[in-house]
Amino acid sequence: MTEKVLETTLEVLKEDAEGLLMEWIDQADEDGAKRSDLFSEREERDQAASMLRAFRLGVRDTSREGDFDLRDEHWADLRGILSEITHERVERGVLPGEMAALVLALKTPLFGRLTDKLVGQPDRLIEEVLIVSKAIDAFALYTNEVFIAEREQIIERQRDEMLELSTPVVELWDKVLTLPLIGTLDSMRAQEVMESLLQAIVERQAEVVIVDITGVKTVDTQVAQHLLRTAAAVRLMGARCIISGISPKIAQTMVELGVDVGEVRTRSSIKNALTDALTSVGVAIRPIERNQRSGA
């Protein structure tokens, strides 16, 4: 008996594929899982039909083994189709819950047919319904997993994009560069910061570099380490490094951590650092006479 556990389900899927498909789509519509605004009737039908076909193939092979596991080889087709369709639907703006609801909507017409077929055999009915129900639940969950995986890919990509954006070396004056750091300074980013900074020193023949950490929230020992190493590399290139934007709370925390900045110059604000830097390249900022102001 266990070998042929999904026999009736398979029969239903074979005999009445068309009717099942129609009823499934109607049910999905009723459950609010159909998105006529995003997909045409035809597209909805084609998607549902290909899911149903893969489902039938999976059921056919399952019925020989008796137990259900979505990771099994014979569900590979359905897994592929589910992730393809989930991808397509999510891309057009279908919510993950709606995708799951669409899959779950298959239960109603399928169970209805099973009940008709297995009249008078309640044990078999319960057995089949249980297994099919478990399977369909697993498919719905699977679409959610696909959705999450896609989200993570997007996040990963955006992070990479931000990483590239976030190391701009700016020339403030001849021979004076600044690098405003924002966010967190993990090892990967520290490496990029160091590279673009050293490169810019060569290109612009810089003498002073201001690394501004006003936008860095936490300075732990690793961040401190990266900053000090960057400063040391800048010094080796023959330039001076000023670290600015050290807030009182970060100063206190660094003292508790026992971080010693050694010979690296630090300033509380980028304004002080700029004054320092300009002085050392022989330039000063001073007020101009009233009659020289433009527009006066």
């Binding site: 090892s187 732990d220 020992t221 190493r229 206190q252 508790e256």
Partner: protein
């Protein structure tokens, strides 16, 4: 029970560098919601950052849990890893000691100084558990 009478309010899986910053912002948000001042947040979050990173670098990843304590002015953090463990805890807590090159070796000792209370238990080959309590508010 990690903290007597404590209630777990958050768990953060620690696997990659990015999880360290997730742990930081999670603890920071929780402390902010309890009305903590910036200085206190910075201090404790820095300690959290150190032990989270240790769990990843030395412990091959781990899990951090955040606890509400009966004394509402406090917050508890427990960080568990199943890494190689620490042979000599006194040595590891000392400033300037590290098993890695390119490390200041001040993280663990620094975290201990930044937290209100700090306990560490470790068995070589079995992993390390760090528990810290931080002050959210003084009132």
């Amino acid at each position: 029970m990690a903290f007597p009478g404590g209630r777990k309010i958050a768990t953060i899986e620690l696997r990659t560098d990015r999880d360290v910053s997730r742990a930081r912002s999670r603890v920071s948000d929780i402390m902010k919601s309890k009305g903590s001042r910036d200085l206190m947040i910075t201090r404790f979050v820095t300690a959290v950052s150190e032990i989270a990173r240790n769990a990843i670098i030395h412990g091959q990843g781990g899990r951090m849990s955040v606890f509400e304590l009966p004394d509402a002015r406090l917050i508890g953090v427990e960080c568990v890893d199943e890494g190689q463990g620490i042979d000599d805890i006194e040595l590891a807590l000392g400033d300037g000691y590290s098993t890695r090159k390119n490390s200041l070796g001040r993280g663990l000792g620094g975290a201990k100084r930044l937290a209100k209370t700090f306990t560490i238990t470790s068995a070589p080959g079995k992993g390390t558990v760090v528990r810290m309590i931080g002050m959210c508010t003084t009132r």
